[in-house]
């Protein structure tokens, strides 16, 4: 693939992710996965899960993290130089932020009391519970043969699920499950 058309496709995808990524964080995952794994095959499902894991242990929102990571690796994987990959990474990060910059600028200028607007509330009335469905889809999409390789995966899943309900720090849980993986496999 030619570099310019790859850059364009990445830009369009991440702009879309920024524009339609309601609910932030995990709710954006199905959209990101749809664009970068299912539509464009820039990375594999396993890579995508690893990005989510890395995002949970590094600072910053997951949308930025995946834009930066995918921008770099997708250009690099096609054999382009380090500089071209870093440019791709910066461009994707900008692309995912651009819709927010445009929308929040308009909001700040015109709609100081938008949260009480009846149309605004109507648009969100179905979308808000819908976002919960998107987060559920994010979890369901990641239950696959790459992430769950045997019964031990399910034991780790159950343990972390219960620990997370008990409000144990997610970073600690990721570090612990990494150690468990090293011991078990």
């Amino acid at each position: 693939m030619e570099l310019a058309s790859l850059y364009l496709a990445l830009f369009v995808s991440f702009f879309k992710i920024g524009l339609f990524g309601f609910g932030g964080g995990y709710a954006m995952l199905p959209l990101i996965q749809h664009e970068v794994v299912e539509s464009h095959h820039w990375i594999s499902v396993a890579d995508f899960t690893d990005i989510v894991a890395i995002s949970q242990t590094t600072p910053g929102p997951i949308a930025f993290n995946s834009a930066t990571y995918i921008g770099y690796t997708s250009v690099k994987n096609l054999g382009f130089s380090n500089f071209e990959s870093i440019f791709g990474s910066a461009m994707c990060t900008l692309a995912v932020s651009l819709p927010s910059i445009i929308i929040m600028t308009i909001v700040c200028a015109f709609f100081a009391r938008l949260s009480n607007n009846v149309w605004m509330r109507a648009s969100l009335s179905v979308l808000k519970p819908g976002i919960i469905g998107l987060i559920a889809a994010a979890a369901l999409m990641l239950i696959n043969n790459y992430n769950f390789i045997d019964y031990k995966s399910w034991i780790i899943f159950a343990a972390v699920f219960i620990a997370s309900l008990k409000k144990i720090d997610p970073i600690l849980l990721i570090v612990l499950s990494g150690i468990v993986g090293l011991v078990l496999y």
Binding site: S39, T57, T58
Partner: protein, 181 residues
């Protein structure tokens, strides 16, 4: 110019020290810009937060943008946005450059075999609590269920799902208005 860099520095600090993004960042932002720096009044912050949450895009970025904008206008919002983006950009870029070389390392592969199911659990576990705070009840639970099935089984792009949800909400309001007449 000094004021712009002050905003940049404040949000750089917030971006560098919050893990997990969005909802974890908001209390920190509030502490910094309302309590410490008095850049924006608390009620205005809460009002804008409600709007920022309803808009697309990462919540941390949207919050940074409105604080920067309220304080120093459009240019101010660019500085606050750059501040909140840069720490995650730098750290993930370094990880991407290093991780792609170590990925095939057997030790790294074993570690990630343990981490991958944990990641799924970390996404699934908060669902119940989130559902409650989003106002999901027995009456409207068909919404999250059908959204999840459309995205998961039917592979419909979440972009169309989001648009359909917004359209349904507006159609419902029009219907209610119509029947009230």
């Amino acid at each position: 110019m000094k004021q712009y860099w002050e905003i940049f520095a404040a949000f750089f600090k917030i971006g560098a020290f919050t893990f997990g993004g969005g909802y974890a960042m908001v209390p920190l932002i509030r502490n910094e810009v309302v309590d410490k720096k008095h850049w924006i009044a608390d009620d205005e912050f809460m009002d804008m937060l409600a709007i920022a949450q309803s808009m697309p895009g990462p919540l941390a970025l949207n919050t940074a943008l409105f604080v920067g904008n309220k304080r120093l206008g459009f240019k101010g919002s660019l500085f606050s946005a750059a501040g909140v983006i840069l720490p995650s950009f730098i750290s993930i870029l370094l990880i991407a450059m290093i991780f792609t070389q170590f990925k095939t390392n057997p030790i790294v592969e074993r570690i990630f075999k343990g981490i991958r199911p944990a990641v799924v659990a970390l996404i699934a576990a908060p669902l119940l609590g989130l559902g409650k705070s989003a106002g999901v009840t027995l009456k409207n639970i068909w919404i999250p269920i059908s959204v999840a099935l459309c995205a998961w089984l039917l592979h419909i792009s979440p972009m169309y799902i989001v648009l359909a949800c917004i359209a349904l909400g507006i159609l419902h309001l029009l219907y209610v208005k119509q029947t009230l007449k």
